[in-house]
Symmetry: C2
Subunit: 338 residues, 2 copies
Amino acid sequence: MKEAFLKACRGIRTDYTPVWFMRQAGRYMPEYQKLRQKYDFLTMCKTPEIAAEVTLQPVKVLGVDAAILFSDILIPLEAMGLKIEFIDDKGPQVLPNIRTVADLEILGELNLEKIGFVFDAIRILINELNVPLIGFAASPFTLATYVIEGGSTKEFVNTKRFMFLEPEGFHKLMSLFTKATQKYLNEQIRAGVHAVQIFDTWAGILSPFDYESFVKPYVKRLIESLKTVPVIYFSSNTAGLINHLKELNADVLSIDWRIDIKDATDLLKNKPLQGNLDPLTLLGSDEELFKRVEKVLIGARGAKSHIFNLGHGVNINTSVDKLKKLVDFVHEFKFMED
Amino acid sequence: MKEAFLKACRGIRTDYTPVWFMRQAGRYMPEYQKLRQKYDFLTMCKTPEIAAEVTLQPVKVLGVDAAILFSDILIPLEAMGLKIEFIDDKGPQVLPNIRTVADLEILGELNLEKIGFVFDAIRILINELNVPLIGFAASPFTLATYVIEGGSTKEFVNTKRFMFLEPEGFHKLMSLFTKATQKYLNEQIRAGVHAVQIFDTWAGILSPFDYESFVKPYVKRLIESLKTVPVIYFSSNTAGLINHLKELNADVLSIDWRIDIKDATDLLKNKPLQGNLDPLTLLGSDEELFKRVEKVLIGARGAKSHIFNLGHGVNINTSVDKLKKLVDFVHEFKFMED
């Protein structure tokens, strides 16, 4: 198995910078589209053979250094008694919604048997892959936002109303999701994933004070329960939270493009970093793209170690060829000697 | 005329902290709703007497220290030959869209005669107000995003595609909007506004490198042309751009809640600051609200001066009473002696 990704997770510098992409399996790939014409998104997630096949596609086509399980962060909600739906162009929908402390009783304990397909897919994959497999889950907070809002939103009005009207109730919800996510990720680890990534996609909507009060303690508690494999903590829009991110016990911090990775390297001394190219640079010219890729690679040179990635998922309009060129560029990049 | 706001803009500390709110005139106010039932949004903007009346409403009801002209950042686009529409719940729409260098010819020079109502409203207001009047415009970049995207968007795919495919064309667009915005804001100043705020609402979608390349030089050029009144530069989601914000020649920097104002104070030494309460804290309990207000006031204590504001516009669900309580709290707040 190729080792560069796991070494970098452990803070070890390797001959070349390992690279993978969030949402590297997905709609921008013709191979994926072909399957998607036959099955809807949830069926693909829930059929271990299909989920495994889709997970493998970008590994074969792009030559990335890690695979990430094809699934969705909302999947565990079904195992807690909620209903999830994916309607094209409308984004995910969750029902019913939890918006007050009284609604908390809607939420059942995580029943792993209901989502056995996730672990079955992992077991298929670890026999077929020549790169490490990353498992994942939403952070308790990001999961909470979906359950509270019921879908996509810009302002997160319901989430914050709950938080600021019933702070104790919100803490209870965070506790419940922390427990469920611990159970879910540990079962992925038992099934064989080599690393896990926690997606705190919406952490960046909060002030540092509210992140510290309502999110950080739960992320720390969650990560502490995942001792046996490296843990990557992904967040977005969190340049103002960097002092808090530093204090998380994550093995790797994955950052987005809204902060210069050189600045992040200076602020997050001694932390392995993942990131942080703007995914939409892949829609431009090669010249503009590689100028920015080089800036990321050189900027992260001072970090303990670096896993190249985007700051967010691959955009649907991305060309597979362009992404493959990017992988090759990162692998072949030679740093000037200091 | 009450002086606290303009003094704070000039970096002078006053007996109490001045306070106003972005979108303080608007749909959360019953007085506004009453007028809105009779006229559509654009008619309200385009009728000087109505725009003036709506501008005055929050000054009377809330007792804020500054008024901001009731208008919309897209208004100047109509004076450049484009069509704007406001459809309830759908957000603003702009047509036609400029997405390549070839489309640039769509854009006419700013014709001030077409938007004389803006300056007429200002002239009415300066005779009626007992607080300073703030004029405003979108930054050239934020204006560009609306013209490129045609409306609201999450990812700004078209904006970035243009930027990364035709960087020289994008620079041309930025030049055109800089020239138009200079002309527009200077005419507001001639009509009598006491300060101007530049809204760079979408600056935070860019990496520091792209902000520096495509936005910063134009903001600097724009601000240099506005010498006679204080200039407030508002941006959102820009904690990772703070080193660049520091180098803008704005009199005041308005920041959002995604950065601790204490951290911003340390990083932006000697700059007057405006902000930075999360507007949605106003939907919670008084206890949670005032805990956070106090944190902002104390956090900004080390800044050269401080204008209390939200990090974004007033949310439509906000209660007028709550906002009035907030104004009083800020005015009456006593700092502990060091």
